[in-house]
C-alpha cells in the first residue's frame, strides 16, 4: 500500500464540478464537528466555504492555541549547494539556468552555522539542489559533524533518497525531512519536470513515507500552490498528510503551503492563488488535522505573514537567505527564489511577543548515539 493507490482513486474525481456542488449547509455541518471527515475537509476547501472564512479562522485559532499553546517555533533554512540535475520549469536552480554553481566546504558550513547561531536560532533546515553527487550522503554526514555542535535540530530538504539512506542520515542526527510533491496532479507533474530523476512521480510521492519508515522525527509535505488548481492540490496534500499520520503515528507530520514566487526562468504560474485562497487552504488543513505542524516561510510578504500568525501556523522562518553561503557573505550568488519578508530574527521575535506569542528557539535536543 502506498499513497499512490489512494491517488489513483482520487484522480477519478471531477474536482471542479464537485467543489462547486458543495452547499453552505455542508460547510456549516463541517464547522460543528470536533473530528472532520474527508468530505468535511473537501467542503471547507470549496467556493461555498469562502463565506465562512471568519468562522473557520476563529476555530482554527482556538484549536492551534489549545494544542500548541501561545508559541511559535523559529527556524532558518541553510543552503549548502545549488547544483541540480533536474529541469523544473518553475525553479531558479533548474539545470538549464546557467549561473556559477557552488557547494559549501566544511569550513564555509561552519561560518554559516556561526552566523545563524549568532541570530539565536537553534533549528535549521538544510537545503540543497537535487544532486546525488554534490549533496551525497557522505557530504551530508560530514556536514552533520559540524552542525550538531551548533544546533538542536537539523532537518533536510534535498533530493529524495532511499529508506536505508535516510536511516544513515537519522543516525547522524538529522531528524526532519521536508519534501514537497510540488504538484500532485500526475500529468501536470510530467509537464513541469521535463528532465532528470525528478520526473519519477511515484518515487517522489513515496518519499515522505520512506522518511517515516527510516525514523525521521518529523516529516513535512506540501504542494507548491500555483502549479495547478489549489483546491484540488490542497485537498490531496491534506489526505497525504492524514494517510502518513495514521500509518506512522510516531512521526510528526507537518504541512506547508508554499506559493509560487518570482524566480530565474520564464515560467508563469498556471493559476493565480490569492491571499484569500491561501488562507482558506491553511484553515481547512488546521481543522482537518488539528495537531499537524504548519510552516510559514518568508516567501510570503511581511504584511501577510503578520496576519497569518494566529491562523494555525506553528513554525516560521525569519531573515532567510535562499542563497548558498548567504548568511556569512550576503549577495553573491543565485538565490532559489526571491523572499518577500526580509525582517531579522530579532524583529520577528519582537513581532511575536507583540501578538502574544512566545518565540520558541529550541524545541528538541540532538541526543545522538551514546558512547
Amino acid at each position: 500500500m502506498s499513497f499512490y493507490h489512494k491517488y489513483e482513486k482520487l484522480k477519478q474525481i471531477p474536482f471542479s464540478a464537485k467543489f462547486h456542488e458543495v452547499t453552505s449547509m455542508q460547510v456549516e455541518s463541517a464547522l460543528t464537528k470536533d473530528m472532520l471527515t474527508t468530505a468535511d475537509y473537501f467542503a471547507l476547501l470549496s467556493p461555498a466555504a469562502e463565506s465562512y472564512l471568519e468562522d473557520m479562522a476563529r476555530l482554527a485559532h482556538q484549536k492551534t492555541v489549545q494544542h500548541f499553546g501561545w508559541t511559535m517555533q523559529l527556524f532558518l533554512p541553510l543552503y549548502v549547494s545549488d547544483y541540480c540535475v533536474n529541469t523544473c520549469k518553475y525553479c531558479s536552480f533548474s539545470v538549464d539556468n546557467v549561473f556559477p554553481r557552488r557547494r559549501l566546504t566544511l569550513s564555509e558550513v561552519e561560518k554559516e552555522a556561526k552566523a545563524i547561531t549568532e541570530m539565536g536560532i537553534e533549528h535549521v533546515l538544510l537545503l540543497s539542489g537535487e544532486s546525488r553527487i554534490h549533496s551525497s550522503i557522505s557530504y551530508l554526514k560530514e556536514i552533520m559533524t559540524v552542525l550538531s555542535k551548533y544546533f538542536s535540530s537539523v532537518g533536510i530538504e534535498i533530493q529524495p533518497l532511499d529508506t536505508t539512506e535516510y536511516e544513515e542520515l537519522v543516525e547522524s542526527g538529522i531528524d526532519g525531512l521536508t519534501v514537497y510533491q510540488e504538484v500532485y496532479d500526475e500529468e501536470v507533474y510530467r509537464e513541469l519536470h521535463t528532465k532528470g530523476p525528478k520526473r519519477n512521480y511515484r518515487y517522489r510521492l513515496d518519499t515522505p513515507e520512506r522518511g517515516c519508515k527510516a525514523g525521521m522525527r518529523s516529516v513535512n509535505i506540501g504542494a507548491l500552490l500555483g502549479l495547478d488548481d489549489w483546491r484540488k492540490e490542497s485537498f490531496i496534500a491534506g489526505l497525504h498528510a492524514d494517510y502518513l499520520q495514521t500509518k506512522y503515528l510516531e512521526t510528526e507530520i507537518g504541512v506547508s503551503f508554499p506559493r509560487m514566487r518570482p524566480h530565474a526562468g520564464s515560467y508563469q504560474p498556471k493559476t493565480d492563488v490569492t491571499d484569500k485562497n491561501l488562507v482558506q487552504a491553511m484553515l481547512a488543513l488546521r481543522l482537518f488535522i488539528p495537531r499537524a505542524g504548519i510552516t510559514l516561510s518568508t516567501r510570503e510578504s511581511e504584511f501577510l505573514r503578520n496576519q497569518l500568525i494566529p491562523l494555525g501556523v506553528t513554525k516560521m522562518s525569519a531573515a532567510s537567505s535562499t542563497e548558498v553561503g548567504g548568511y556569512s557573505e550576503p549577495d553573491n550568488t543565485q538565490s532559489q527564489f526571491e523572499i518577500s519578508d526580509d525582517r531579522s530574527v530579532a524583529a520577528i521575535r519582537k513581532l511575536l511577543y507583540s501578538k502574544g506569542y512566545q518565540p520558541v528557539m529550541k524545541d528538541w535536543q540532538i541526543i545522538g548515539a551514546e558512547d
Binding site: V65, Q66, G69, W70, L249, Q365
Partner: protein
C-alpha cells in the same frame, strides 16, 4: 496536623503542579506560577538551553520553585532515558517526569515503553514520575518499580475535557500504593477539585491556565479549587443517594428475638 504531600523526598504544601509549555511569554508564566502557589513546575528538557547560555525558561521562573524536568518529545524508552540523563547532567536535579509518546495524532502515552523507562531511571537514582494512560496493572508495575508517583491522564492532553477517565483513575487511587497525580485533560478548576475529591494526591495543569484569557487569575482559581477538593476529600463526604430513605423499612419485619 498539617496536610503535606510527601513526595520524591520533598514535602509540599501545594498539591497543584504547573506545566510551563504553553504561555505567551515568560513574564506571564512567572506571574501565573506565583499566583498558583505551586511549588513544582514541569519543564520540557527539549526547550531548555542545556549549554547554559540562559536565554530560555529556567532564568524566568520564581527562584524558590522546584523543577520537574520532563522527557517530552521522547518516542522510545531509550530516548527518554537519554533526555533524563542530559537534564541531570545540566544540573536540573534528580526529579524526572517520564513522557514517552509514540503517537503524534492524539499524543497518548506508551505505557510499556514508559514502564521500561521507570525501571531504568529508578535504578539510576532518579525520582521518577511517569505520565501514563490510566491502567491499573501498568500503574501498579510502575509503583512497584519505584516510581515516586503515578500520573494518569484525565483526558487527552490539551483537550480541556476534564476527568473523562474518572472510573479508571478511582480504581488506581484505591489500589496503587503510590501517590496518584492526575495529569492532562483538566480544563476547569471544578474538574481539578473533582480529582482531588476522588483522592488524587495532586493535579498537574498547563493548557487550562496558559490559554485562559487571564492566566494569572485562572492560576489563582485552580489553587483554591485544588485546596477545596483536598479539604473535601479529608472531610469524607457523606454518601450520595438519589432517593430519600424509604419510610417503611423493607426489613422492618425482622425482630431482635428471631
Amino acid at each position: 496536623m498539617e496536610d503535606v504531600l510527601q513526595i520524591g523526598g520533598r514535602q509540599l504544601k501545594s498539591r497543584l503542579l504547573l506545566g510551563t509549555g504553553k504561555f505567551a511569554d515568560h513574564r506571564q508564566m512567572k506571574e501565573a506560577v506565583e499566583a498558583s502557589q505551586s511549588e513544582i513546575v514541569t519543564v520540557a528538557v527539549r526547550r531548555v538551553d542545556l549549554n547554559g547560555s540562559g536565554q530560555y525558561i529556567l532564568n524566568d521562573l520564581p527562584g524558590d520553585i522546584a523543577l520537574m524536568p520532563n522527557t517530552s518529545g521522547a518516542r522510545t524508552s531509550e530516548e527518554a532515558v537519554r533526555i533524563a540523563r542530559l537534564a541531570k547532567a545540566a544540573g536540573m536535579g534528580n526529579w524526572i517526569k517520564v513522557e514517552v509518546i509514540s503517537d503524534q495524532k492524539y499524543l497518548l502515552p506508551d505505557n510499556s515503553e514508559t514502564l521500561k523507562t521507570v525501571e531504568q531511571l529508578v535504578e539510576e537514582g532518579f525520582e521518577v514520575f511517569p505520565y501514563m494512560s490510566p491502567d491499573l496493572t501498568a500503574g501498579k508495575r510502575m509503583a512497584e518499580a519505584g516510581a515516586a508517583a503515578v500520573m494518569p491522564l484525565g483526558a487527552p492532553i490539551g483537550s480541556n475535557m476534564g476527568i473523562r477517565m474518572k472510573d479508571l483513575i478511582k480504581v488506581m487511587v484505591e489500589e496503587i500504593d503510590a501517590p496518584i497525580i492526575v495529569d492532562a485533560g483538566i480544563g476547569k478548576p471544578s474538574q481539578a477539585a473533582e480529582a482531588m475529591e476522588m483522592g488524587a494526591a495532586a493535579v498537574l495543569v498547563n493548557t487550562a491556565i496558559a490559554t485562559a484569557a487571564d492566566p494569572v487569575a485562572m492560576a489563582r482559581a485552580f489553587s483554591h479549587a485544588v485546596e477545596a477538593g483536598r479539604c473535601a476529600y479529608l472531610a469524607e463526604p457523606g454518601a450520595q443517594a438519589l432517593q430519600a430513605a424509604a419510610s417503611s423499612p423493607l426489613t422492618g419485619f425482622l425482630r431482635e428475638d428471631d
